[in-house]
Assembly symmetry: C2
Homo-oligomer: 330 residues x 2
């Protein structure tokens, strides 16, 4: 008999998707996206998102209670950011082992509350429970004009492929935290912070959505490669990358530990950049929109018709594999 | 240093409530209610609810996977029912141990999906995670006209206190499941079903809210006594009960095991009846509203000014204590 370990998270999601009725008011129709959007009138979507943080799989031992609270919020905000939706309110369900101290729970709550505030949200309710390990499950709610919602499925051949930042720092940071690898002092904090103090690209996502020039978007929480495959599948296109958006700190780290910077960049996870496509004639509008909120975007390639994902390295084409972080399998 | 076990769930909720900013658009203002309602325009509320099911505290060993799924949905629908809000969509976050089989997960999903369908809702999204025990965290979304939302705080002295059903069966059923107590064949199924196959009083709650004659309402998931205290606190009133709404099966069970039927009736929990107040001149409208959906209500007492809760038994007044199920303390 198959168990979850044989199936893996993605097969489990497929299995669930097949067994449930489809809501006629879901938008866009019948696509699994980063969030769930429901038509509540002709122009407005109610947008819902949940992503559960589980201590045994999502929390490195070095993470403080405050940081656990922060991460639980950021991973949800990131998906709203990818759709161009401003979350306004949040419920929080907590599972807490009963030996937690008052101080620990206060730190956890402060991490959740202060991060909610940073992204302009309020905690409006929730639930507390005794559990065997720490569980922080945030439920985000936002409203969005239908025309501003950015789905995964609008990429067209010829569009520019871009990202909001560089990749690989989280994969390197996790190797430091979980495998005891070291890094030079000048890059150590940056690598560790990418894991312990993640940031969601909300203002960037909102600016891009408002600009009206992006055709699809996803967040990169399952890794850059996996995100590209999801975008490719939903839009029925492929990508050719002419730039590997690897962070300079990651090149140094890879060199020291004889690791592949390519692998760290593409096959990590828990990185909260946005991966999106833009109509080429509007590229400068996209650049300006994100610069106007104090940030920047990086062009990494182009959308093609054929459903494959390749990177040009020294004139050769290297295939990006469809792999990334997956629950149950590891 | 205090830990959660010393604090108990209610102190933890107080502690959280003190540490978070209050959302100006929450309705009604600054009251912890069964659900979270947000003003999205002048007349309409977006209503959100989450209640997390945790295997180690919420699931008796005899409960099937299908029934676990059902319970996780019912406990959320019940709170929507108490506010007169029809939930339309639901997200589900799952925490699953990796040794679960495909068949077990299918049963769990079918329990969630079929119960969602029973209450007229669709699953529109969610999240799956590996965890040390089964966690099913549902997040319900509904829309409600502001004037039809039934809060906890409208009860006035002179109002009639009523319930949608009888109490004590869950407490007795849990004693059978967890302590091995037995019951005669003719009542055994009814007691066990109250735990394993709970029902939310959604159609009753919607009918009462639409009738416009109820002044406050709460669900009884923390026990009848505790629900009365919460209603009393929110409305700043008290109650005198002239009828103990104990189920006949519970009288038989209490007799056999030399237990107090009063205790089973008032201090149980996980019972999903509605406890509400009605303007006396409109009592017959409330009766008719609920009869029109094939159900009934039971008058059990009256609202008084003094903030105390007492039951009249043989001409004597017995105080109902402020106790019920509480996480972390048990």
């Amino acid at each position: 008999m198959k168990n979850l370990k044989d199936l893996g998270e993605r097969k489990v999601i497929e299995l669930i998707w097949k067994r449930i009725r489809k809501f006629p008011k879901i938008f866009p129709e019948n696509v699994l996206d980063d969030v769930s959007a429901i038509e509540i009138d002709n122009d407005v979507l109610a947008v819902l998102k949940t992503d559960m943080l589980v201590e045994s799989t999502d929390v490195p031992p070095q993470m403080s209670f405050w940081q656990i609270g922060r991460k639980a919020v950021v991973m949800n905000v990131s998906d709203m950011a990818a759709k161009g939706v401003k979350p306004i309110a949040m419920l929080v369900s907590l599972g807490l082992p009963k030996n937690l101290t008052k101080k620990e729970i206060e730190e956890l709550i402060d991490g959740i509350e202060e991060t909610a505030k940073e992204y302009g949200m309020y905690i409006v309710g929730g639930d507390t429970n005794e559990a065997k390990e720490i569980i922080v499950d945030c439920f985000l709610f936002g409203l969005c004009k239908k025309e501003e919602f950015v789905s995964r499925r609008g990429a067209k051949p010829g569009d520019i492929l871009a990202v909001t930042g560089e990749f690989g720092k989280t994969a390197a940071g996790l190797k430091m935290l979980l495998e005891g690898m070291d890094a030079p002092e000048d890059i150590s904090k940056s690598l560790l912070d990418s894991v312990l103090m993640p940031k969601a690209k909300l203002k960037e996502g909102l600016a891009l959505a408002k600009s009206g020039v992006i055709t699809s978007c996803i967040d990169s929480s399952d890794g850059l490669a996996w995100s590209l495959y999801e975008l490719s599948k939903a839009s029925n296109v492929g990508f050719i990358l002419d730039r590997i958006p690897v962070a300079p700190e990651v090149l140094v780290f890879a060199e020291i530990h004889d690791l592949s910077a390519f692998e760290l960049c593409f096959y990590g996870g828990e990185e909260y950049e946005l991966v999106f496509t833009v109509k080429p004639e509007f590229w400068s509008s996209a650049v300006k929109a994100v610069e106007s909120v104090g940030s920047h975007i990086i062009k990494i390639g182009v959308v093609i018709e054929e459903p494959k994902i390749e990177v040009l390295v020294d004139g050769k084409r290297i295939t990006v594999e469809a792999k990334g972080w997956e629950h149950f399998k590891s």
